[in-house]
Symmetry: C2
Subunit: 249 residues, 2 copies
């Protein structure tokens, strides 16, 4: 049984906690948060503390705090014997020559959305082979897709995620704006959004590109630009159209 | 029983044909295409022709050809008594004072991908109320989501679709590129892509925006820009980041 201390009580920590509760390979011995109120959801199931100095002994300390604070937390608990990992996509693994690692679930978490953790890719990394095996065992116990990913690779995954998640969502919100302007229900586009994503996961997205840009349909492009009355939306339209055409020769 | 003549044999026409075959409200009496080979898939199920002058009498003529050719086809068949509709998102309805309309399925169609037509939104429009009712009956017989949409509204839907489908797919392909550069399997991002889309259909996308741009996480943004070595990808990153920040004050 892998004994875990969870440091942090935000979205990622909460979803991890729930996932660990379903696993037979581990138990969460304690949850830390600086603020007492954020521990309320954990108190009925495990021990909690607001004092980093009162952390229990554990096999793994999982740090799930804001990216900026990860280093600071590691500094304060580095005397511990257990393996210390963080869950951040953008913070490199600490190479201290001791027992450090990364346990990064690649997903967008919302507080009130239920998630099937078994589908979430877990990217793991550790300074030594033994610890990597422990992380692998832990990861396999809650997810079906576990990847050994170096800090260098994780950097590019995190960057890619901004494009395929954050930026994609912004394009959705632009679509919603354009619909609102003309009193069209945005839901008409839902099936198209889903099918576009489905296609891009069944094929290489580069190979299933469609639309006026790749057809070089100048008439439609000019017509669309006429319709756009927000400066940044026009710029985005032009830049993405150029980029599609550039990529496809 | 609504008697249909289908003009065109491309992706949209093929998927419509299959959908009509499952409907008890209509039958496709004939399919037209300029090229004989593209009619091969239809020949076993209905009559076909390569000559517009040999079109049979029908209740509805559905024109599903390239956007540029729609007007030309209408010109050639406008003497027919039936209702004449096209399936294009970007071509306005012909206002001839006769019987014209639009029957626009809002979806991205691929040749070899099976599609559940009942989920595809159908946007209908007609010059007169009677014809709109006929189109509604036909549309309801193959789809669960039918919308009465004016040409003006359809214009903005078509434009929105470029953002939420074509441009989104391009962002996916950029994500794929970035993964390839660092030998990371793109499939790690598939679940994130699906969840992002799911979230944006359950909520207003504007309200579930996440990422370094909306957090104004300058350190991560600078770090990401350092990693991007293609000029147009850097420009896209900067422009979309600015646009997210602009939108969210």
């Amino acid at each position: 049984m892998i004994k875990i201390v969870l440091i942090g009580a935000g979205n990622v920590a909460s979803h991890l906690f729930k996932a660990f509760q379903t696993s037979e390979k581990c138990s969460v011995a304690q949850v830390f948060s600086r603020t007492k109120t954020s521990l309320e959801n954990f108190e009925t199931s495990t021990e909690t503390t607001t004092d980093l100095k009162k952390l229990k002994e554990a096999d793994i300390y999982i740090i799930s705090v804001k990216d900026d604070e990860v280093e600071n937390v590691i500094e304060q608990i580095k005397h511990k014997n257990g393996l210390i990992v963080h869950t951040s996509g953008s913070v490199p693994m600490l190479n201290s020559g001791k027992r450090n690692g990364v346990f990064y679930p690649l997903q967008t978490f919302s507080k009130n959305t239920e998630i099937d953790f078994s589908k979430i890719p877990l990217c793991i990394e550790a300074e030594n082979e033994n610890d990597l095996q422990i992380l692998e065992e832990l990861a396999n116990s809650i997810s079906k897709s576990v990847y050994k990913i170096s800090s260098e690779q994780r950097k590019s995954l995190h960057l890619s995620a901004v494009f395929v998640c954050n930026f994609v969502n912004h394009l959705y919100s632009i679509g919603e704006d354009l619909c609102k302007e003309n009193k069209v229900p945005f839901e008409i586009l839902h099936e198209l959004m889903k099918e576009t994503t489905r296609k891009a996961t069944l094929n290489s997205p580069a190979k299933v590109q469609t639309g006026p840009a790749i057809r070089n349909d100048k008439k439609t492009i000019a017509f669309h630009l006429q319709q756009l009355n927000k400066a940044d939306y026009s710029k985005i339209y032009t830049l993405l159209t150029d980029s599609i055409q550039h990529k496809n020769g």
